[in-house]
Symmetry: C3
Subunit: 324 residues, 3 copies
């Protein structure tokens, strides 16, 4: 449950210190994030054209290596790669058939021998993408598309991209993150990204079992009631409530959670007038937010998906060495 | 079992009345069908070239969204899209993991946010493609690639294309449809398409339990014996006999069905000399037709497949707005 | 278990005697193999370019028709086809859902009607690719990508390619094949390929139950102890030991096998100084070879994978009629 700790050296960077892999938000520099966001802005228009394709990664081979089924994540990366004109090889490995660790690296060694350029890795185990990056060295790059509860950095990048695109600089916005902060890779990465970009106030809110006071140490403001957390907010980021939290007795019931922490239209009026509502999807309507909010004008959840595609194009183009 | 009924408005058309989606044969105009058939004629030659590819949908993104496994249908649509140079995203949703209705539209909303251009939808529930079309509005188009027992309109279009391509205008041909008319989406759509194109005589034939006399109301001639139905026919369309009809006691046995209604070489001689035999595939040799007929010179079942690819290219090109 | 015997005519060739399909090494001429190897040399450099793509099969449609799951083989053929700019249709048929024989040919007839150019077939039954080739005639070509224990000819071609690429002409090399020669399609095909290319000495070594003395008839030297077989060898080819051999009582235990026949660093020193170690993958470290050998400098197992991709490009380009 604890964040995966990197060993010596920085597996995200090459010997010259340049970004080589995208494994986690931790360790990224503000300038690098801004460059990626700027590049994503330039890719955003491509999806609106009739011909949604540019040739910058033509003839490169990218592998979608998925040890977990995630149609949505696989689809965005596949479309991002195809719109950059790369060839995409989809490999779905049933977790049952994969004996961990060795199997991943053996599979990768074979694909490397086929001269592929990079990997988009989804894996149920925390640290799998770091393990792969260390193994690859300079031979190919890897994007972490989710490794257990550890990291999913393109999600946080698309989130800050979306906020900046709609509201302007992060350094002028108050952001509220609502839900199970303790177990969420999305929340952890978002807090890091917001911090790096100079967000002046990051608030986290939820029950004590899921938002322990110790989080204060991360530089965030901890709330255990929703109303004061929302007052003056520009951005409300609702996390998906995992059903298993109920089973583990950290929450009494989904109804009780919604009653105390559900984002309703009435509560949202406590935030600033132009406040936006984000969610990593898929939503539990009636749990972390009401259907009225989910489908209302302040929710920009589908914009996040659109931005996510542009952001992933920017990441793939950067790691694969193409220039937009 | 009854045909799905559309609500108000015509979900196949945009506000200006132009064909926007292909959901069912019902509601298509003769001129529209003829335009699609003419366009398919022009695409037919592409499959015979060495380079089977034209650039008219380059950079468009088409989604093969399949909630039912159908390798054959998926393959033709995928090849049709690729030969038009579109990018294709294959998404197979196991019906077990899909909670109906909401799940489909949520999945689609995410794909729309990825700026895809159109959907090819296969779904086990009647009306799914209409539901999707209403949801999409002007944002993207949809081709119904089979929704339960309701519709599968590209099948009927390729059938009339095949008849016209080989025998000339539909308005001069006598067509016999043989089998389970009552439960067949193929039969219903074909009857509509033939009627729209002015077929002077459509005959349906099979046992009373599967070809009830009330069908007369659709403008077809009902027969319960095969021999008189075949006399003078130019086209014999044999439907696939579903095994489940036996279980439901609508048929005594496959052997008994074949004895009374199986299309044998001897019976086929009752039809016109140049009569052709069609079948939607896959065939039950020895049930709805004998192996001799299935593999004989009058059977044009594989031509249907070839024509189906050209026809689907024509449909995709039209809906995606490309001109051949 | 016995090699599949061809009937009359040569299903690998067209009426003019030109290579039409690649089904097995048996029956290939030395000149043909050398042409394929030379062509593969020219393709080897493409994988090292930034743009790993040449247009020679643009607009052709190739079908990866897999009745057995083999991610590795499917991936190399898919990448080979894509780097030649062909369109690839992946079809995975669960063996459970396929009723043998007829089903394969029916599926193929439908794909042929979609005007595909060629098939890459993987099938659990020996002889399936020959059956398909006879069925296809001049209509399309087929590459056998593994049919039961019968043949997998691109494996043997990549093996001789690798030996020639690294050590020079086969006609000057002593090759040792180690393991279960009796049941191995890899061994049988390699022996044929080496013979055709004039290898002066092919040695096979393993326990009597897996390397019966009758093999002498194939023109190979039979050994039942590893040390004398290795002396003077330039190439050691270790086969994968199948676990099922233990069950069938042909081997006492994997430990016992490794003790007597495992290729260790100490034993490898008996071979020539620059001797190379090949393996068809995936390896059982600690069974047919020690981890030290598997990961040591003489093992060229990943080079085999790289060469396999270039070799498959050469085969596809030749059968599809494109010239490099």
């Amino acid at each position: 449950m604890m964040p995966w700790r990197m060993g010596e050296g920085d597996p995200q960077r090459d010997a010259e210190g340049r970004l080589r892999n995208l494994l986690a938000i931790e360790g990224l520099r503000e300038g690098e994030i801004l460059e990626i966001l700027d590049s994503a802005e330039s890719f955003l228009g491509i999806g609106e054209r009739t011909v949604k394709k540019i040739p910058i990664l033509r003839g490169r081979t990218l592998v979608n290596l998925f040890y977990e089924n995630s149609t949505r994540t696989r689809s965005t990366f596949e479309l991002a790669a195809k719109r950059l004109s790369a060839d995409v090889l989809n490999i779905a490995v049933a977790s049952s058939s994969a004996s961990k660790g060795e199997s991943l690296l053996d599979t990768v060694d074979n694909l490397l021998a086929m001269q592929v350029d990079g990997f988009i890795l989804r894996h149920p185990e925390a640290g799998a993408a770091h393990l792969l990056a260390r193994h690859l060295g300079e031979r190919a790059w890897v994007v972490n598309a989710g490794d257990g509860q550890h990291a999913h950095p393109t999600q946080a990048l698309l989130d800050v991209f979306t906020i900046r695109h709609l509201l302007g600089p992060i350094s002028e916005r108050v952001v509220v993150i609502l839900g199970d902060i303790l177990h969420s890779r999305v929340a952890r990465a978002l807090i890091h990204a917001l911090s790096i970009l100079g967000c002046p106030q990051i608030r986290v809110v939820g029950p004590r079992t899921l938002v322990p006071p110790e989080l204060q140490g991360l530089g965030v403001h901890v709330f255990h009631e929703l109303e004061p957390a929302l007052t003056g907010a520009n951005v409300v980021y609702a996390l998906r409530m995992q059903r298993e939290r109920m089973d583990s007795q950290r929450l009494p019931s989904l109804e009780e959670y919604h009653r105390r922490f559900g984002l309703t239209a009435a509560r949202l009026r406590l935030a600033e007038d132009n406040a936006v509502v984000l969610h990593p999807g898929p939503m539990n309507r009636g749990v972390e937010l009401s259907a009225e909010v989910a489908d209302g004008p302040q929710a920009i959840i589908l914009e996040q998906v659109t931005h996510g595609l542009a952001l992933r194009m920017a990441v793939l183009a950067r790691l694969a060495g193409g220039n937009p």
